[in-house]
Symmetry: C2
Subunit: 398 residues, 2 copies
């Protein structure tokens, strides 16, 4: 065995090109290091830096004054420089959660070169780590049966293009004759068909909830809600020249809602699914909550389960789309048809909180039944992962 | 429309939490900027940095002296600091290719915060960009029909675990009754089931070759060749604590080859595939070339097409695996059965060049037929993408 390792070592160091860059670039610094008390130590080898800080959602947020009033921004903590040029910071003990962070090196925001686990959120890339336990165990890959995740293209006649979606099929889908219910899960502004599977940990949450018997095996369809896009940045013929942005046209002006039946038609023509209202759910976060509200209202026979996660509820009469016309009449029709669950979830600190209060008042005034869930914090992926974890077990149970 | 944009802007700036971090963190710096003459301008806003450099495979390599002799390492170029604190460098005109790079800020290797397009290679993450044209057009997402890419788990009785693979199915697979041929495509040391789809641009290469009529529609199976692993780093129950490494046990000691029939059995039980020798190909890079050599030799009735890309050809009598026993006799049997194509490809600068020369001498001495392709440079993904682009059109054509 010794000879083998010698040979492997030669393979690793005997050339100066790409495959070996990986080794050379790889650091022996351990960061993040999750300690026994659930504190986390972060390290960065930067002997020439004047100042190294860390920012992330595991740090207490700071309140700053702005022209628009008080604003909360992510916390920042300083790393201390060791004699070896390695900077270090150890957090307080952290509650179970999937957290994110970046380093700030002399003010420049970078990812941690010792941690390959990174996620893109719109145009930012940050590192992630998980403190296990409780809710956070749903976000881990556990020793359970795993569903399949497919990136697949479909044709949308209404939008006149081929478009990309991400589809989760539950464990056993490929080896059964069963028909499955479908959850359509929509992203927020700046997101795309990669958002829920990456930031939302959808595959892990569904695998774990299904393994625990808490959620029914279901197909989860994560489509692209930006009607201007064929696919996520980098995945369409626009190539790499275009960087992701929140400033996309055709996001909240009716195009996506109008074209949504194309998505349902594709799924119901291509997957073994149950094709009843009772076997379809739609939910989304922020803009995706707005889309879910509009789509379920526009097509009142499609969805028996509706989930509005931190929904961007707002009057949109200023756009010409028929989707937003006669909204109250359409909503009446939707609720006369008694959807099995109309679920509204939002955090107390969400900037959309009041818009959701107003919307619930309207539902209350009309006697429309819904279930409301409120928790702490605001417009963050932490909450959307929680909402998916709570919504999925409530659907398709009858 | 104006009102809508005002509302959207408020949505974007009115809170200080995660979704908005993306916006705040997002930079207005354009980098990389591909110029009309195919030069590329790189920029980094780092007003406090003392020195900013760039390294990448688009720069001429440097030769350095080491204890082991001369070694080539990636080139480095200095960025110049502008009055605004933005550093800039413009390359020479570049030939069409998919290139990679990192910045070095006061010696610290980082990714470009203005470019979300990044790929992991073992434990390193670098940015990528494409200079279009010629061969590089195969690496782009073009306006052609797209296949599907699925991450799926299979059970390997021989390895005693559930394992993850990446499967490309060609455009139209889901909507036909046709049976398809299968290419098994194996990664190198330090790689996993994500390597070929990310670094290798397999989906783009196959989509484009199929659209041009150059390759037959085929299924491409990218499995994990590290017999110790269930899945790529971060995708198994080992979680995020473990960072990727090239120093894995059970990579080149027979376990993977012994267990390979589990992969074929799974694919042939779960996909609409042709189950003849003439409809199976196996190829791989470096360690994956070694695996392809051994697997095709061990199971001489399985594969009519074998591709050794920069194969790590070496005598492995020092391991106990029966896979490496009686290798010459097994090779004789394999060639007596006349495989349709035994393709060996390597770059002139590859550190495995001589091992491949020796192997070809052995084939020649025995009159075993193979096709040899040699090109410039060495053990790099640039070459492996070229080899896949050349190998795929040669298989399943009869």
């Amino acid at each position: 065995m010794k000879k083998l390792f010698v040979w492997m070592s030669i393979l690793l160091i005997s050339t100066g090109i790409s495959a070996q860059e990986a080794l050379w670039g790889g650091s022996t610094i351990i960061s993040p290091q999750i300690n026994a008390d659930s504190s986390v130590t972060f390290r960065l080898a930067a002997p020439n830096a004047g100042k190294v800080e860390i920012t992330g959602d595991f740090l207490p947020r700071q309140t700053i004054e702005t022209a628009m009033g008080e604003m909360e921004i992510p916390g920042v903590a300083a790393l201390n420089k060791g004699a070896n040029g390695v900077w270090e910071f150890t957090s307080a003990s952290l509650a179970p959660e999937l957290y994110n962070y970046n380093f700030l090196v002399d003010g420049l925001k970078i990812t941690d070169p010792s941690n390959v686990y990174q996620i893109r959120d719109v145009s930012s890339i940050f590192n992630i780590f998980i403190i296990p336990g409780e809710q956070a165990d749903l976000y881990k890959v556990n020793n359970v049966s795993h569903g399949s995740v497919t990136r697949r293209w479909y044709n949308s006649p209404a939008l006149g293009m081929d478009r990309r979606m991400t589809i989760y099929t539950p464990p056993g889908y490929e080896n059964s004759n069963q028909d499955y219910p479908v959850l359509y899960l929509l992203h927020g502004m700046g997101g795309d068909e990669e958002a829920w599977i990456a930031l939302g940990r959808t595959a892990q949450i569904m695998d774990n909830l299904i393994a625990e018997g808490k959620a029914k095996p279901m197909i989860v369809v994560m489509t692209n809600g930006n009607a201007i896009q064929e696919a996520a940045p980098g995945e369409s013929s626009l190539g790499f020249a275009q960087q992701p942005t929140m400033q996309l046209p055709k996001t909240m002006e009716g195009s996506f809602e109008t074209a949504f039946p194309d998505v349902v038609d594709f799924i119901e023509s291509n997957y073994r699914v149950k094709k009843n209202k009772a076997d379809r759910a739609i939910s989304g976060l922020s803009m995706g909550g707005f889309h879910s509200l509009n789509i379920s209202r526009e097509y009142p026979d499609l969805f028996d389960y509706v989930g509005l996660f931190s929904a961007a509820i707002t009057p949109f009469e200023q756009t010409d789309s028929p989707i937003y016309k006669n909204a109250d009449e359409k909503l009446k029709v939707q609720f006369e048809k008694n959807p099995k669950l109309y679920w509204i979830a939002i955090g107390k600190d969400d900037f959309l909180y009041n818009a959701n209060v107003d919307y619930r008042k309207k539902l209350d005034a009309n006697g429309y039944k819904y279930v409301y869930f409120e928790n702490e914090e605001g417009h963050i992926w932490k909450n959307w992962r929680i909402y998916l974890s709570k919504f999925a077990p409530m659907i398709f149970q009858e």
